[in-house]
């Protein structure tokens, strides 16, 4: 092994920094949007600040800007470390960073002005979609190019997930966004009506599957063993859960369309696979938690590892809830209500954001040539703010959703509906207030994190914060 070769850590640092900043942007918009539902005056009668326009800024900002930057950064880190090789195509890798940031900036800057396709989680218009497609293919070339030059024969399980994430998201993005442009800022999707709905939710739910699950499982499978110093509990279980997730997930999108005009057999398939999906999902969550056997004292003492443990627990809870909500009669109550919003946030706050924070707190000191983050105490604060914020948010939305669902379907003795729609809106007031508080707590934690990251990077020993680590064999594998 040539000793002069070094890992490309610069690109990882850039992505992590971007994730920390985008996290604050995306979550701040989320807190504002939540507050607008509690106090409509906060729309300020200003078009580009109005809830209905900025909602997509929140969802796109946290999923693709915060989550996406964290995924790409950790992916570049993990594929180098587990393959004992430097990143392939360094210029293309740099392009993926700036190209991704450009696409994010354009998306975030156009959506408040009403430039949108209206497809959920795929709002940006066609010219931004093209940039995203080019960046994504480049990302795939760098990742698989690096994998091809690995020095470890076996491809570590984290890379299976990152690979599936890259392949499937590329496929989903392109198929879902096929559109005919009218002008630079306006296009029409080639699909209409029921076909459009099916393609949209095939995409929408697999954005959850491959962006918010597979990618982050890659993160979990690398950082949890590294941080806890324990090997993955079961290799076989990781095989079963990986292929289960890749195969089952793609079927489940139609559970978003129960009782609609979508053909019944497609709804039934979606429901069936959603329930089967619980097996590989819990296999992954169980594998992660069992990996901590023998390291529970570290979970107690180390807030970073505790972030990852809580992430695995919320992953298990959210996937159980997801399978449950996909069952047709349950869905008849929960669909269209805030229960769905609560479910999504149990996954995104409890699982996705927590594993990101765990990875950030593991990587940033290392990439800055330090033993620990600048302030370990701040990590504790961040952890408890995150847990409290998530629980308040999710419990409020469960109550909100079930209340709405029940009020909408309550009949009086005379056979007429008991509640007007407006009464169900008025019943939401306490929950929308609580949701805002939960979100604000979570945001506060993210701000603390960003300051801690900044302080750690600035406190790096001379030169260490800007250089790449030498290539040394690591414990993984």
């Amino acid at each position: 092994m040539p000793t002069s070769e070094k890992y490309n850590d610069h690109i990882v640092r850039l992505f992590l920094l971007a994730a920390a900043v985008w996290g604050i942007v995306g979550m701040s918009i989320g807190v504002l949007a939540a507050a607008q539902l509690a106090w409509p005056a906060l729309n300020f009668e200003t078009s580009w600040l109005t809830f209905s326009r900025i909602r997509a800024n929140h969802t796109f900002g946290v999923i693709f800007a915060f989550g996406g930057s964290a995924l790409m950064g950790t992916c570049y880190y993990v594929v180098q470390r587990t393959g004992h090789t430097r990143l392939a195509f360094p210029r293309l890798a740099t392009f993926t960073f700036w190209g991704w940031q450009l696409a994010l900036f354009l998306a975030m800057a156009t959506m408040p002005f009403g430039i949108t396709q209206s497809k959920e989680y795929a709002e940006p218009e066609w010219f931004i979609d093209l940039i995203i497609a080019v960046v994504w293919v480049s990302f795939g070339v760098v990742f698989f190019g690096t994998l091809a030059r690995r020095r470890i024969r076996h491809i570590y399980v984290a890379n299976w997930y990152y690979g599936a994430f890259i392949i499937a998201v590329g496929l989903l993005h392109i198929v879902n966004n096929l559109a005919l442009p009218v002008s630079l800022t306006k296009s029409y999707p080639i699909y209409s009506g029921v076909v459009d709905a099916m393609v949209q939710w095939w995409y929408g739910h697999n954005a959850v599957a491959f962006f918010l699950t597979a990618g982050f499982l890659g993160m979990l499978y690398y950082f949890l063993p590294v941080r806890s110093g324990r090997p993955i509990w079961s290799y076989r279980l990781s095989i079963v859960s990986f292929w289960g997730i890749v195969f089952f997930y793609i079927w489940v999108g139609s559970h978003h369309l129960h009782y609609t005009a979508l053909p019944y057999w497609v709804q039934t398939l979606g429901m069936t696979f959603s329930v089967m999906l619980l097996v590989p999902s819990w296999a992954s969550a169980g594998n992660a938690i069992a990996t901590l056997n023998g390291a529970w004292h570290k979970v107690r003492d180390d807030a970073t590892l505790r972030f990852m443990f809580v992430a695995a627990v919320f992953y298990g809870l959210s996937t159980f809830e997801g399978s449950f909500l996909a069952i047709r009669p349950v869905n008849s109550l929960s669909h269209y209500t805030d229960w769905t919003v609560g479910h999504v946030h149990s996954g995104t706050l409890g699982w996705v954001a927590m594993i990101i924070f765990g990875a950030i707190y593991t990587l940033v000191p290392q990439l800055s040539g330090r033993e620990t983050m600048a302030s370990p105490r701040a990590i504790e604060w961040h952890f408890w703010l995150s847990v409290a914020g998530t629980l308040i948010y999710v419990v409020a939305m469960w109550n909100a959703g079930i209340t709405q669902g029940l009020m909408w379907r309550t009949y009086g003795a005379d056979g007429s509906l008991t509640y007007s729609f407006l009464e169900s809106v008025m019943a939401m007031a306490p929950y929308y207030l609580l949701r805002t508080i939960g979100g604000a707590l979570f945001l506060t934690g993210a701000v603390i994190c960003a300051f801690n990251v900044r302080a750690t990077m600035l406190a790096a020993p001379a030169g260490a914060g800007a250089t790449d680590r030498p290539l040394v064999p690591q414990a993984a594998e």
Binding site: K186, A197, I250
Partner: protein
């Protein structure tokens, strides 16, 4: 099995191929048959596409993000039918690029809101929802009434939709801007043309309240008043 996988994970392209196969099957099975939906979903004879003014309103509905809080898909459940009207049919959104079924009801479903409220109610409600519904949490959209409607791009939009299969004839496309203005001005010379091109059931009136000015409010209200009224098929369904 384990040995097979042991070998698979040493060949990156083998892993890639296996992922592509595993991740494609579900989508192919569920989506591919829907492209034959033309044969299974009967387009009602009386189904008309949106008029240019309604289409402009639909674009504004998308621009403002109304779909974030309002669904347009009544499910086949008793309480939804009692609250909103007959459940939505696939054929009713056959010309909708994109569909606006929505996924969340922070506000009520709008699939059949057409002609349930007066134009004046919609105008007042959009300018300030709390003026008509004190407990409403909907944002206000006062700029709709203040912004003149841009009719210049309607022809290009309709031509694009026509390429995707929406029945906008060359005649409909050529008269798009004129029809948009005339629909909100029932006593104008072009009003007869709108009725002739889109049917006698199309509402012709100053939706925004002022026949002298064509604003985005005219378009949005015209669109809202058309919802659920492009065909009577749902009312005839079993």
């Amino acid at each position: 099995m384990l040995r097979l996988h042991y070998n698979l994970e040493r060949v990156s392209m083998g892993l890639v191929a296996a992922i592509i196969v595993a991740a494609s099957i579900g989508g192919l099975v569920e989506i591919a048959p829907l492209f034959t939906i033309d044969e299974t979903v009967e387009i009602p004879a009386d189904l008309r596409p949106h008029t240019p003014l309604e289409l402009a309103g639909r674009e504004i509905y998308i621009r403002e993000g109304c779909y974030a809080c309002h669904s347009q898909m009544i499910r086949s459940l008793a309480d939804e039918i009692d609250r909103y009207g007959p459940y939505s049919l696939a054929s009713e959104s056959a010309y909708d690029h994109p569909m606006l079924w929505g996924s969340k009801r922070t506000g009520p479903d709008l699939a059949r809101v057409g002609e349930k409220y007066s134009d004046a109610w919609h105008v007042a409600h959009l300018v300030n929802p709390r003026a008509v519904v004190p407990a409403s949490i909907m944002p206000a959209y006062p700029w709709l009434a203040a912004t003149p409607l841009d009719t210049a791009s309607l022809s290009a939009q309709m031509a694009t939709l026509a390429r995707l299969g929406v029945p906008y004839s060359p005649e409909r496309i050529a008269n798009a801007a004129e029809d948009a203005r005339s629909q909100a001005r029932p006593d104008s010379a072009g009003a007869a043309g709108v009725a002739q091109r889109y049917g006698e059931r199309v509402a012709l009136r100053p939706f925004g309240g002022d026949p002298a000015r064509l604003t985005e409010m005219d378009a949005v209200v015209a669109y809202l008043q058309s919802l659920g009224r492009l065909t009577t098929a749902a009312h005839d369904a079993p």
